[in-house]
Symmetry: C2
Subunit: 506 residues, 2 copies
Amino acid sequence: MSAAEQDAASEARRRIDELYSPERFGELAETWRRLLTSHLRSVESSSGKVLNWNPPEVNVREAERQLAAGEGSPVAGDQLEARFQELAEQCLSRGQNLHDPRYIGHQVPPPSPIAGLFDALGTVTNQVMAVYEMGPWATAVERALIHRWGEALGLPAGRFAGLITSGGSLANLTALLTARNVALPEAWEHGLPQEGPRPALVVHADAHYGIARSAGMLGLGTQQVIRAPLDERRRMDPDALDAILAGLARDGTPVVAVVACSCATPIGAFDSLPQIADVCERHGVWLHVDAAHGGGMIFSETRRGLLDGLARADSFICDAHKMLFVPALCAFVFYKRPEHRFEAFRQEAPYLFDPSAPAAADYDVGLMTVECTKRAAAFGLWGVWSLFGSRIFGDLVDATCDGALRLHSLIVEADDFEPLHEPQGNIVVFRHVPDWLRGQSLEAIGDANREIRRRLILSGRYYLTQTSLGGAGALRCTVMNPLTVEAHFAGLLEALRDIGRQVAGL
Amino acid sequence: MSAAEQDAASEARRRIDELYSPERFGELAETWRRLLTSHLRSVESSSGKVLNWNPPEVNVREAERQLAAGEGSPVAGDQLEARFQELAEQCLSRGQNLHDPRYIGHQVPPPSPIAGLFDALGTVTNQVMAVYEMGPWATAVERALIHRWGEALGLPAGRFAGLITSGGSLANLTALLTARNVALPEAWEHGLPQEGPRPALVVHADAHYGIARSAGMLGLGTQQVIRAPLDERRRMDPDALDAILAGLARDGTPVVAVVACSCATPIGAFDSLPQIADVCERHGVWLHVDAAHGGGMIFSETRRGLLDGLARADSFICDAHKMLFVPALCAFVFYKRPEHRFEAFRQEAPYLFDPSAPAAADYDVGLMTVECTKRAAAFGLWGVWSLFGSRIFGDLVDATCDGALRLHSLIVEADDFEPLHEPQGNIVVFRHVPDWLRGQSLEAIGDANREIRRRLILSGRYYLTQTSLGGAGALRCTVMNPLTVEAHFAGLLEALRDIGRQVAGL
């Protein structure tokens, strides 16, 4: 090595030591703590905007500018803290403020900040799974939560299986892959059958778009998704399902699964699972339930009845990062029969799964999940549960669902708002129909509502979402922030009126 | 509401306020900071065990005990901090210590702790994507990094597309789904073709198990995976590939894609991509490259040549959570032609994608990723890059790859160790063959090596992995910790000798 090469190598070593220095970490973590504490205080007290809106091009340009700054003049030791603070502040000041009580938006909660701290223990130390020995405690925490949440949901202790994966869409895909492999035992090795009628997937007509995507991904085809009709509350109609399955049986069409919802996304309708399970059992068809949103309801004394029958499903999914109020992503898949846990994937990977320790295979989660390296996603849930007990989840479910009922009442009471359903959980869909919109076509009213919403969220005063119902635009709130109280709901309606008048030019 | 109900409601409100209190967060974050700083100091100086081994059943029981404790006696205010500390210490003391320089194991790095702090900003505030308005800054950060890393990898600025997803397996699946949909345009809607020869996927014989899994998931069938032969350095043989593709063309077998590796997992072999790209272009076949591990090599002046030809691939993936040393999971998919970004999924979800803002669709990442809700996975990478410039990644790549060469030299020099290849990157596969094993069958030697490894990792003295090579067990190190230096490699060989003697009963 030349002298110049030696100099370069020791410079590189110095940079690496700085990057990994525990002392540096401690200093920056103090800045991190201070910024986040102050940020949460400010956001929870609604002192700024809910959504910090910038057009995508503007934000991308700014994010790129910072990268270029790093290239141009990497920090030397004494500038590190100031530069870290600048970058961290930018992350905090340009995002979406879910902890603001005026955030009444998507099915994504403001997580308990304490859950975030537990999650970040796994992040900083990079606890991951695939094989047990890489993440022994991460694996154990997941397994413990699968046991306890599964039992709470009605599965018999020690006689079911489960896994945690990166999000509800991936969880549904994994369960439906299992269902496909069971319904079509040759498919995994030989591909979809080339003989006979194409297999079908029968789904709640309002099922999440990820379900039809799963059919596309798994080689079934999105056109092979049969949407079962809904009743007047947008729940799957068990009689219609029965008729569909009878028809498919007559044609000899294999059915991969029936997909029910607890709850469906548009208005939060919970299917009547006991009746649907009866129909599926009669036809010998796999029942999968997408309980991504509703799975947390089990912890509410007054709302757990919404999940009656769930434990009869062959598979179902529940997202902890929805109604258990932990950071994204932490999605659970449950199988009623433990032997199904290895049906999704059937393989060997010699550099991973060690034949000298075969007993550990049941704890090598990579055998059950799409992910090979999988992050420790459940530290947050485990921490909150261990600190406060599962009662805290019931508190959160009730606070948000009670809030939805309160919002619904305000809508019912107001002359210029139209409720579009009775909330079963914490989703409320409605339209603003002030005088200036009355008598217009439903489409025009829907478009105006979308326009009002867009202007409102860009103003940063409130955050809510939109959907399409009955063929026209509508406003949609998920009461997903337990800090949102009556005054915020009243304020939301007032803000919609206000923006509405601007849209009308009044 | 009865008086009892009112009391219960205000008790619940008190618990929720405690859970979301910024002051409480600030207090616990100080404990968190103190514990993590001290943990990193202790681990980086090798003052404990690398792997804290407990049998799975023991860890699961302990994790369940803590959940039960939460159920039994949830904490009241003044016990919170002590209990938080107890739980956090448990997470830290029962895991795998990747920051210990004696961790020379899987293709998972000890991430820069500073990257962990940036990542956790997104976690605590729950910045997520799907639609741009939910995570405007998170989306911008991802887009900026896709631009800069893509350009560094040789893609022309402004004329390619990319996305970030939850891990390399999901990234490969997404890219191969795109390839499938392009090769078989009817498959997404109508399912796999029922006429003609079944489509095939031609892959590097050592490709990651996730590739064959993708074939199983996508409805092609794992048996439709054709493993292209390797040359003497375990790189895909371009001539053999050419012959395979010619044969498939003669049979009229549709080819979904060719999958090459940069690098393959077993020994870290980098394919000769220019030659493979020539073959694929000649046959008009989609080339996908799994550069999950190797993508970071582009930042090393001396090693970027390993990736020559990568930018000619139709799609490829690179994991930032491997050789860019950020926490799991942060996997990139790149498409050479931007129009392919919407080929994987083709759908509408009215409650998500707002027709009143169509221009934003290109920034609604849910249209391109399996995930609907997707966590902000790239804050860590963006933060480190913005602070230190991309040169730091070159430093880390060189430190670990130079380390691998050093380990290899020690193995070559030792009489009782047998090198099994010349490392191209930072993966080193070898066997311990002391006198007491000489003359035994390869299988017996391999089994003994596995047994030695298992005892060594359970002892906590070092951490390395195992694989199967030439039909027998072998030891496998990925030099993935930039703090690992010469003395650790020498110590590893010494420890293997030591445990070997125990296994032999000497």
